[in-house]
């Protein structure tokens, strides 16, 4: 069974807040759900499937479905870290194709800036590998730094090339009134910012923000009944990459999720007009671009030079909201906003200065877990209503 054209994204919402000391996490889930449903022209009563990940408090989907007042005949709480919400889109499309639901609501919310949550997601007790990784001062930054170091060693990638990715994101963020970091930065700004974990600098990293987002995924029949422009799901791919003592830090799970998504959609990387690429760090973007086939493995550093990623006219316009690097990384999970901005582009509703002309096919990619250990990669290919 293919999910090609089996479901449409009918509503999206990104919480405008970045610093929300007076909000609760369940309250943000409610706000973003209401926003996405309103965007679709629908109500909570229309929802019959609910999807959430490790950021959902309490009993996850059970607690939140009750809190939101949902009556569901389908539920999914797949947790792959920051990529969860792209996985949820695929699973929603599958469930819709199977007749298990027809209106799927996906929500994300968190308060890492003001709520004290730890980066990286939920605590479910000690993992079997924790004794072998928890004794060495591993954190999010130095893990990705090891990936960057190895990529530099094998392919000659430079800090300046990584910095180009931040520069492109910042040129987009200047047009986003909600962006956490709205100022344009230069390559020099990035490489002269403090080294957090060599070779990654402070400005190689994404922002830490409160907030959230939501998606509404519906059947093609319901999409046809709505006034709103909806976005068909053309293809999807998932992959889990594990460490297991054989870890290769120079590639991501996108080497598998990308081809699966392109195959299902029946297209190639050359057909893509816009990409939302998960950008926890600059190195995350660089490796993912290579792994998705937009350039040869190891050529990512050369590929991103000379404004290749800058909208609207770069070779591969990316993250036109400013991405996690500059705009928003709610709950330390960047997958939701990747889908939201791709939908904006396909509807022609991105900020005008960065709207890609005739944006007919877009790709959104999520990376969950860590490049340094184990990850869940998810790729979506989205189209435009015919």
């Amino acid at each position: 069974m293919s999910i090609r054209n089996a479901a449409h994204i009918a509503g999206v919402f990104e919480h405008p807040g970045r610093h929300l000391p007076d909000h609760t996490v369940p309250g943000i889930h409610f706000e973003v759900a209401a926003g996405a449903l309103a965007d679709a022209g629908m109500t909570f009563a229309d929802v019959d499937g609910y999807f959430c990940a490790g950021d959902a408090p309490g009993f996850g989907g059970l607690s939140m479905a009750e809190h939101l007042g949902l009556t569901c005949r389908h539920i999914d709480s797949t947790e792959t870290g920051g990529s969860s919400y792209l996985v949820h889109v695929q699973h929603a499309a599958e469930a819709i194709a199977a007749g298990h639901c027809s209106v799927a609501l996906i929500t994300l919310a968190g308060k890492p800036r003001t709520g004290g949550a730890q980066p990286g997601g939920s605590a479910r007790g000690a993992s079997p590998e924790s004794s072998f990784e928890g004794l060495f001062g591993l954190n999010v930054v130095n893990g990705y730094a090891m990936a960057a170091r190895r990529h530099m060693h094998e392919f000659g990638t430079t800090s300046e090339q990584l910095a180009e990715i931040k520069v492109a994101a910042s040129t987009h963020a200047q047009h986003n009134p909600n962006a956490y970091l709205p100022n344009v930065v230069t390559v020099e700004d990035v490489v002269n910012s403090p080294l957090v974990a060599d070779p990654l600098h402070r400005l190689d990293a994404c922002v830490i923000t409160d907030g959230g987002g939501a998606l509404v995924v519906v059947s093609p029949e319901i999409a046809a009944s709505l006034d709103r422009h909806t976005v068909p799901v053309l293809g999807s791919g998932l992959a889990i990459k594990t460490a297991g003592g054989r870890i290769d830090l120079t590639h991501t799970g996108a080497v598998w999720s990308g081809p699966a998504a392109f195959s299902e959609a029946g297209i190639t990387p050359a057909d893509i007009k816009y990409v939302s690429i998960y950008d926890s760090f600059t190195i995350t973007v660089l490796q993912t671009i290579e792994d998705l086939g937009f350039c040869e493995k190891g050529d990512g550093g050369r590929f991103v030079m000379e404004g290749a990623l800058q909208a609207p006219h770069g070779r591969l316009p990316f993250n036109t909201d400013g991405g996690g690097l500059c705009n928003n990384h709610p709950a330390n999970r960047g997958g939701m906003t990747k889908v939201v901005e791709a939908v904006r582009q396909l509807r022609g509703e991105a900020n005008p200065a960065v709207q890609v002309p005739d944006c007919s096919i877009a790709l959104a990619h999520g990376t969950g877990g860590s490049l340094a250990t184990r990850m869940g990669s998810a790729t979506l290919i989205l189209g435009r209503e015919s």
């Binding site: 001062g137 591993l138 090891m146 080294l195 870890i247």
Partner: protein, 139 residues
């Protein structure tokens, strides 16, 4: 005897799944698991082979030698590691094959590079037990 260290070194949490490994470290020995069926030397230690699911596992004494697969000199860190910056986190590729996460200690930071030869050192845990770390090989 594992030697004392200033680095944060809690006594590792062991279980019946990996007790052989931790008991080895406490005696300055790096014991690795090898599958009796497919021959895989795997990581992390567990009582079955992740390659072929065989439950007959041999433990053997590794050389303790390896090379740096990748590393990061960490200048800022949250929690109790922050006070120990700069410190070095690394993946070490053991001569027996597995790439294992650890620290490089007692190293000239300017001499670090991918491929540098390192050897095991055993750091005493705060309340017993030991932790596997690495230091540049002499010469």
């Amino acid at each position: 005897m594992p030697r004392p260290t200033d680095l944060p070194t809690p006594t590792p949490r062991s279980s019946s799944d990996d007790q052989v490994f931790w008991d080895g470290l406490a005696e300055d020995r790096l014991l690795l698991p090898r599958c009796t069926s497919c021959g895989s030397v795997f990581w992390h230690p567990r009582p079955f082979c992740p390659e072929c699911s065989c439950t007959r596992i041999d433990w053997f004494a590794a050389t303790g030698n390896g090379t740096i697969y990748s590393y990061s000199v960490t200048h800022k860190a949250p929690g109790n590691w922050g006070a120990h910056a700069p410190y070095v986190i690394a993946y070490v590729e053991l001569d027996e094959g597995p790439r294992v996460m650890s620290n490089i200690v007692d190293a000239d930071l300017d001499m670090l590079e991918v491929g540098l030869e390192v050897q095991a050192v055993f750091h005493a845990g705060a309340d017993g037990g030991a932790v596997l770390r690495f230091t540049p090989s002499p010469g």
